[in-house]
Amino acid sequence: MVCGNMAGLELLSDQGYRLDGRKASELRKVQARMGVFAQADGSAYLEQGNTKALAVVYGPHEIRGSRSWIRHDRAVINCQYSMATFSTAERKRRPHGDRKSTEMSLHLKQTFEAAVMTQLYPRSQIDIYVKILQSDGGNYSVCVNAATLAVIDAGIPMRDYVCACSVGFVDETPLADLCYAEESGGVSSLALALLPRGGQIALLQMDARLHQDHLDALIEAAMTACKGVGKVLDEVVRLHLKEVSVLTGE
């Protein structure tokens, strides 16, 4: 497996340190807040290292626009993913509507259709809007984590948390939670969205060449990383609930 060399930078040094000083299986620092907007039914802000994302949820509400999307037995989930024009190093010309964003929105929709209990709200629609404020790798994972918190904040019932993480494979070692430099270095990366309790994979996406024998180890590493993220999200939710219950005087 050829290791991507970017201007002589090593993605994994001999002592086992990565570009930003983390160990191979170490996640970036996760900070999150729920309930940041008053207008929306649910909202959350999540930072994972330098990647910052904002997620907002509206719903379940009446289906707007085309009536042909109505499903008579479940709610329709509508996701939109966009990146702020200032989020990347070079100013983004098209924040949404290009193929990559549409694909990302589709993936988000698919992930949440698996996790949200849509059968409880037939003939209605749930909107999830995610915006990346600063992009430093792991865009999809951060969006999913932020959206999970937002959905929990909106009170929509879910089967489990949805935690996502990206892993890369360098020098026979899986690296958890890739940053932008590692992603663009030609490393084979795998993004995984997991429901931690049951170990079920809601979305699996992998690019670049990887030998079949390494797949097992990579998925394992991804699942461990997701479970780690899940623990952090769980803490955030409990903290938020405690704050809210203090305010309501219970």
Binding site: E103, Q110, L190, I201, L204, M206, H211, Q212, D213, I219
Partner: protein, 433 residues
């Protein structure tokens, strides 16, 4: 245009059939449909038939200025067109979800895996590079567009020849195909995608779903691999939850399938190269065989039939012996005796529209009359057709009707008819065996 909605009956039947490991066209769960690869007259044009799904790929090239951040690499551009001729569900112009999904998957499968050496496409660094454009058109949608598209794209790329370029100092000359032979692209490996469809929350798995199976599936897992067992891309779609073991199992199946398909692909390329060298006529028009009827024709598919006769015999043995009592003859009109229901009454039949055909079960062979059984399976009774004939009740046990003395001569007639029918039943039995 709207597609035909899927009825509950179809969905239930398909799921039930999948549970019994039976597919609509008789394949096994891990079988691909019959694949046919043909080439057009130009280099870089190829058609792929996967069962009834038909896809065409065309590769073309042009000299452009390279991207600023990659000055000595060529550009690859992929485009999948969901033509409305492929399916009534595709609309012209609008970029639907499916179109975005397929495009992104093909890009990821071919571009990110670096199957083509893009540096060899560079002519003058920073100024002129080759842009290779792959256009894939869907011609007929019968399921599994992704696999067909990926096979078509990589085959077309392998088949393609770009014009030769000569550099003398500052001058760059592009030679036409007549002056110098065009050269093929340098391809490192051939990634081929394999699609797995999941049913019943991941309990059942099928490879290469056809269109009807795609409509009832929960989700799809696409794995792109090459024959060196390197995974080029994995993508799960649809709202399914997978387990790690399922993913591993799918990747193993995929590696087997990919090696088979790669072999077929290389053989097709070989044949085409041979045909061109011999100067024979090649191309799309030649490869279409002389067929009178193309649309409704179906290829012969093997259907598992081995145990049917045994099962039929089983059913015959297991059914109970028919009730011993003979159905008493009914006297609808004096002078006419009727035993059993008999065949359908075609007297005064004006409308031919609704006819429900029902065959006797094998168990009826033992019975003396060819009585159409009144069971739950029936949906309507022809009783209304009888007109003024006595309505016969549905019950199995019939009251024994005492024959009136006026009709003793009817009994021989009845026995005749009975024996005639028995003969017919027996001959039917003989035919079946």
């Amino acid at each position: 245009m709207k597609d035909t909605p899927l009825s509950n009956c179809e969905r239930d039947f398909l799921l039930k059939a999948i549970e019994e490991k039976k597919r609509l066209d008789g394949r096994q769960t891990y079988d691909y449909r019959k694949m046919k690869i043909t080439f057009g007259t130009d280099y870089g044009c190829c058609f792929v038939d996967l069962g009834k799904t038909r896809v065409m790929a065309q590769v073309s090239c042009e000299l452009v200025t390279p991207k600023e951040n990659r000055p000595n690499e060529g550009i690859m551009f992929f485009n999948i067109e969901l033509s409305p001729m492929a399916s009534p569900a595709f609309e012209q112009g609008r970029q639907s979800e499916l179109s975005v999904k397929l495009n992104r998957q093909l890009e990821r499968c071919l571009r990110n895996s670096k199957c083509i050496d893009t540096e060899s496409l560079c002519v003058v660094s920073g100024e002129k590079v080759w842009q290779i454009r792959v256009d894939v058109h869907m011609l007929n949608h019968d399921g599994n567009l992704m696999d067909a598209a990926s096979i078509a794209a990589i085959t077309a790329l392998c088949h393609f020849r770009r014009p030769d370029v000569g550099i003398q100092g500052d001058e760059v000359t592009v030679y036409s195909p007549e002056e110098r032979d065009p050269i093929p692209l340098s391809i490192y490996h051939m990634p081929i995608s394999v699609s797995f469809s999941f049913f019943q929350q991941g309990t059942y798995l099928l490879v290469d779903p056809c269109e009807r199976e795609e409509r009832v599936m929960d989700g799809l897992l696409m794995i792109a691999m090459n024959k060196h067992r390197e995974i080029c891309s994995i993508q799960s779609s649809g709202g399914i939850m997978l387990l790690k073991e399922q993913v591993m199992r799918c990747s193993k199946i995929a590696s087997v399938k990919v090696s088979e398909i790669t072999e077929l692909l290389s053989k097709a390329l070989e044949n085409d190269k041979k045909a061109r060298k011999e100067g024979g006529r090649c191309g799309f028009a030649e490869s279409m065989p002389q067929e009178r009827i193309t649309a409704l024709k179906m290829d012969e598919t093997s259907v598992e039939m081995t145990d049917v006769t045994e099962r039929a015999k089983d059913i015959v043995q297991k059914t109970e012996a028919p009730p011993q009592l003979v159905r008493s003859p009914v006297v609808p009109v004096p002078g006419v005796g009727q035993v059993g229901q008999g065949l359908q009454n075609t007297w005064g039949l004006e409308e031919e529209d609704e006819e429900e055909t029902e065959e006797c079960d094998n168990s009826d062979e033992e019975q003396e009359e060819k009585v159409t059984k009144m069971e739950e399976e029936e949906h309507e009774k022809e009783a209304s057709r009888e007109g003024d004939v006595v309505e016969i009740s549905d019950s199995e046990e019939e009251d024994v009707v005492i024959l009136h003395p006026e009709t003793p001569d009817k009994t021989p007639k009845n026995t005749e008819s009975r024996s005639h029918q028995k003969g017919a039943a027996a001959s039917k039995k003989r035919q079946k065996k």
